[in-house]
């Protein structure tokens, strides 16, 4: 029998102490849809599992000064049922909804998707594009960092041994703002992204883009933010010239590998095509987003 222990602390302090005091490998459990598979295959052999779901605030969505705050262990299905999130952040919601089946949606979380640190994670480009921050707690206290600082390589994060994500914060949403996420897969459901793209924009009353963030998945060791692609959008309407510049910037930022899901050449090309399509959806949605409601 293994010596695997389990704890379900009911406070942040208790959880941090458990993680800090663990003699071997301690793993944080939220939805478990990656962790249990990795344990089963023997890829991860923890000595302690710290289940965060009993900590107050870890499950749920609240509004704070015009921002949405999402508890780290909130299951995908709960985010997708939230009317305010669907109106303000349809791209984040549709990206999260692409993770696995209905059964997976009952458990999977933004924190798990981010900390599993797959380059192809679906919700992560949308979170990068959204300008989301992660509130991280640990032995040295609490810090809030942009989500793009969390994954550092395939399966690796910047979190310390005694740290875990408490919640995500999405910035306040001005009028005429929206976002979108698409991934390319060779079928319609239940697959891993060949390329993923998330874009968030704010437009002025003439439809000119004032701020933009563009992120790509599955084209580098981590999901990447692409400032050049965002720069191609800012100051412009979504005309043919702007789309061509966006496409070129996305392709230039794509540094994928060859694998069974696609070749380097194919992924680079698809990165540009997806960026065009996602920008069109985000611009269209942004035109209709007024007073916190999508029209």
């Amino acid at each position: 029998m293994s010596g695997l222990s389990y704890a379900a602390p009911t406070s942040v302090d208790e959880a941090v102490k458990l993680l800090a005091g663990a003699s071997g490998l301690a793993k944080v459990l939220s939805g478990g849809t990656d962790l249990l598979v990795q344990m089963r295959s023997g890829r991860v052999k923890p000595d302690l599992i710290v289940d965060t779901k009993k900590i107050p605030g870890l499950i749920g969505i609240r509004e704070e000064n015009g921002s949405y705050v999402i508890g780290a262990a909130t299951p995908g299905a709960m985010v997708e049922a939230h009317a305010g999130m669907k109106a303000a952040w349809p791209g984040v919601v549709e990206a999260l909804d692409l993770i696995g089946s209905t059964q997976i949606q009952g458990r999977c979380t933004l924190a798990g998707n981010l900390c599993n640190a797959s380059p192809a994670a679906d919700s992560v480009p949308a979170l990068f594009a959204a300008g989301a921050t992660a509130v991280i707690v640990g032995g040295k206290g609490r810090r809030e960092v942009p989500v793009e600082q969390v994954p550092v390589g395939p399966g690796r994060t910047s979190l310390g041994k005694d740290e875990f994500i408490l919640e995500f914060r999405l910035p306040p949403r001005p009028a005429r703002s929206s976002d979108a996420y698409l991934r390319f897969i060779p079928r319609t459901e239940m697959d891993i992204a060949v390329v993923g793209c998330g874009i968030s924009v704010t437009l002025d009353d003439k439809g000119v883009c004032t701020t933009a963030r563009v992120a790509l998945g599955a084209v580098a060791p981590t999901v990447v933010l692409v400032p050049d692609a965002a720069q191609a959008l800012v100051g412009h309407k979504l005309d043919a010239d702007t789309l061509a510049k966006l496409d070129a910037a996305a392709q230039a930022a794509a540094k994928p590998i060859n694998d069974k899901r696609g070749t380097i050449e194919y992924r680079v090309k698809v990165a540009g095509v997806l960026a065009r399509r996602v920008a069109a959806i985000a611009f269209d949605r942004a035109q209709g987003f007024v007073n916190g409601k999508a029209h």
Binding site: T33, L36, I49, T102
Partner: protein, 161 residues
């Protein structure tokens, strides 16, 4: 290492069990409690044969630790019928011959019930996407979808010709 002591509610009955941390809820249901209706297909959350409803949400019991069941309310395939009376989803699976080998059937019935609890009037597309996490290698899915749509109609009090 001491086993975990868990108190939970399964199919309406308060249940206590002991489990190792690495035992999944599916392991516990099948090997500790003796509820063998839930099946192990892939053990990685891809096939849906182990689907159960936990605290109102459809989940793969192979991706839940048994110890996470503490304080939870769980419905397995054994809790879908009311005594001898089959649930309309079960009845329609029989009428439409929506199964061949039957291995995926418990998971599909639990998942279909969860769908109809949440959405009594799904479109065929919604039903197909909802059930995309339940793999069936025999039927080609069409009979399953017909059974689910027919059960939905019956639960809404509509008769379908």
């Amino acid at each position: 290492m001491a086993k975990n002591y868990v108190t939970t509610t399964i199919n309406g009955e308060q249940t206590e069990f002991l489990c190792e941390t690495q035992q999944t809820l599916l392991d516990v249901l099948r090997d500790v409690i003796g509820l063998t209706g839930s099946k192990e297909g892939c053990a990685s959350g891809d096939c849906g044969a182990c689907s159960v409803i936990m605290n109102g949400r459809l989940v793969c019991s192979c991706l839940v630790l048994g110890v996470e069941a503490e304080g939870a309310t769980i419905t397995t395939i054994e809790g879908i019928a009311q005594g001898d009376k089959l649930h309309p989803v079960q009845q329609k699976f029989l009428e439409h011959a929506a199964l061949q080998c039957g291995f995926c059937t418990p998971g599909l019935i639990v998942a279909s019930k969860a769908l109809l609890d949440e959405n009594p009037n799904p479109t065929e597309t919604e039903a197909r996407y909802w059930l995309a996490g339940n793999l069936c290698r025999c039927t080609g899915y069409d009979k399953i979808i017909r059974a689910v749509m027919d059960a939905a109609a019956e639960l809404r009090g509509e008769s379908v010709g």
